[in-house]
Amino acid sequence: MTSLWEAFAAAWALIAGFDATLAQIVGLSLQVSLSAVLIATCFGLPLGAAIAVERFAGRQALIVLLNALMGLPPVVVGLLVYLLLSRAGPLGSLGILFTPTAMVIAQTLLIVPIIAALSRQTLEDAWREYDEQLRSLGARRLNAAMTLIWDTRFSLLTILLAGFGRAAAEVGAVMIVGGNIDGVTRVMTTTIALETSKGDLPLALGLGIVLIGLVLLLNTAAALLRELAQRRYG
């Protein structure tokens, strides 16, 4: 029990003490994971929408595959990206291993399936509901998809938050491709892993509490935004 209290005390000290190192680590965590969500959305959402409104051979298999890929272990994605970006690998000449960019790439790969699979489900459900209506208006599939995305935007926002949660919470991928370099690629989760290694469990858990607090803050902001928008547009 004492170490739990110590953890809360450590979390409070971290927040109240606001040191520059922690701010930099938190900033990098947000920067990496938000970039990953943004990029993954650019790929995942169109992919999900396309599968939702199109009918083609192998569609069912693709859906099953996407759903399965939601369970990709971060450490496997990390290893894959590491081998690709390593100097001895096919993309080694880019020299971006152990940079935040490599971390963004790994997290993007990790959450594209989540965004694609979940948005596919959401859009397909909406498509079933509005199918007749959209058809009777003579909407093309592309237009239909756009309309569906706009109509389900609040549900889609939750999907993006799920993607962000996955990215911000994982440690396996960023540890391998980032290398947990002090001041360069050290993020919240790798710091927590490091402090756990050092046996400073209260500090590690304290950092964990700060991380959860951050995610909570972001979700609150999203919920408020949604509330406001719903009031305005009904």
């Binding site: 390593s86 080694g92 152990f98 960019t101 947990n180 046996g199």
Partner: protein
């Protein structure tokens, strides 16, 4: 392939746009071990070097096996580890230029205060190992091919014991770094073989104390080497060599000797110049 390459390049540019300050800085990447990083040595000595040369040193801390592999793949400019046999092979295979001895510390055997193998306060590590095996007392091993793991296994061989016979029973491989292994040992009151630096800076000791120390065979030598630029042309050989030279120079050696936790000096410089 061109498409993928373009895509990654685009992402790379995005990354650069995010962090321009980081991208423009002169830096080298050093593959090193968890013992040097987690003991706090790098935090103490690297700022001295960075201030003098303006070269930022980016340390990726892993087990010695993984750190050498990073060097072999060309993902580091300098390797700074502690497994003499593996290091000499690394150089002999043409992956490293030349190995320099840097410093040493020592390994210690930690164990629970209750001391089921009755070895507390003894100096003979081999006899200690034999008593642990005889008593079938729990022993937490790294099991991760790190330098510390290699040293631990060497001593089992000297003791004439194959710890694999106790696997799953008293001999438990955690397959993780020094800190996590100590966390495991502390929670199941097991003996564990650790470098003194990590032990001194480790906070979650529980009931563990040092039981065996001071044996000649517990000597732990660190070596540093530049990754061979002939093998990997992108290796930053000037800056990397500058770092290697500094570490074995009088100034670098003093920075190592100056690092203390409380009254304890963690590493003892012994570069041959």
């Amino acid at each position: 392939m061109a498409l993928i390459r373009g895509l990654f390049l685009g992402l790379a540019l995005l990354g650069l746009a995010q962090a321009p300050a980081v991208a423009q800085q002169k830096f080298i990447t050093v593959a090193s071990t968890t013992s040097t990083e987690q003991s706090g040595l790098f935090k103490h000595m690297l700022p001295v070097f960075e201030k003098k040369t303006g070269i930022q040193v980016r340390v990726v801390a892993q087990g010695t096996g993984q750190a050498l592999d990073m060097g072999r793949r060309g993902d580091a400019d300098v390797v700074f580890v502690h497994d003499k046999v593996a290091e000499e092979k690394f150089v002999a295979d043409g992956f490293g230029v030349q190995r320099f001895e840097v410093m040493y510390n020592d390994f210690v055997l930690v164990g629970p205060k209750a001391d089921p193998a009755k070895i507390a306060g003894t100096k003979d590590i081999v006899a200690g190992y034999q008593k642990i095996a005889a008593a079938k007392a729990p022993f937490a091993s790294r099991g991760d091919k790190s330098g510390t793991h290699a040293a631990e296994l060497r001593l089992w061989r000297v003791a004439g014991i194959d710890p694999q016979t106790g696997k799953g029973g008293w001999y438990r491989e955690t397959g993780s770094g020094m800190g996590p292994t100590l966390n495991t040992a502390s929670s199941m009151n097991a003996y564990a073989f650790t470098d003194r630096g990590t032990w001194l800076s480790f906070k979650n000791r529980g009931d563990l104390v040092i039981v065996v120390e001071g044996d000649q065979q517990l000597f732990n030598q660190y070596g540093i080497m530049l990754v061979n630029p002939a093998r990997h042309t992108h290796v930053k050989k000037e800056m990397g060599q500058t770092f290697v030279d500094w570490v074995v120079s009088a100034e670098g050696q003093k920075a190592i000797a100056d690092y203390k936790i409380g009254a304890d000096q963690l590493f003892f410089p012994n570069a041959k110049r």
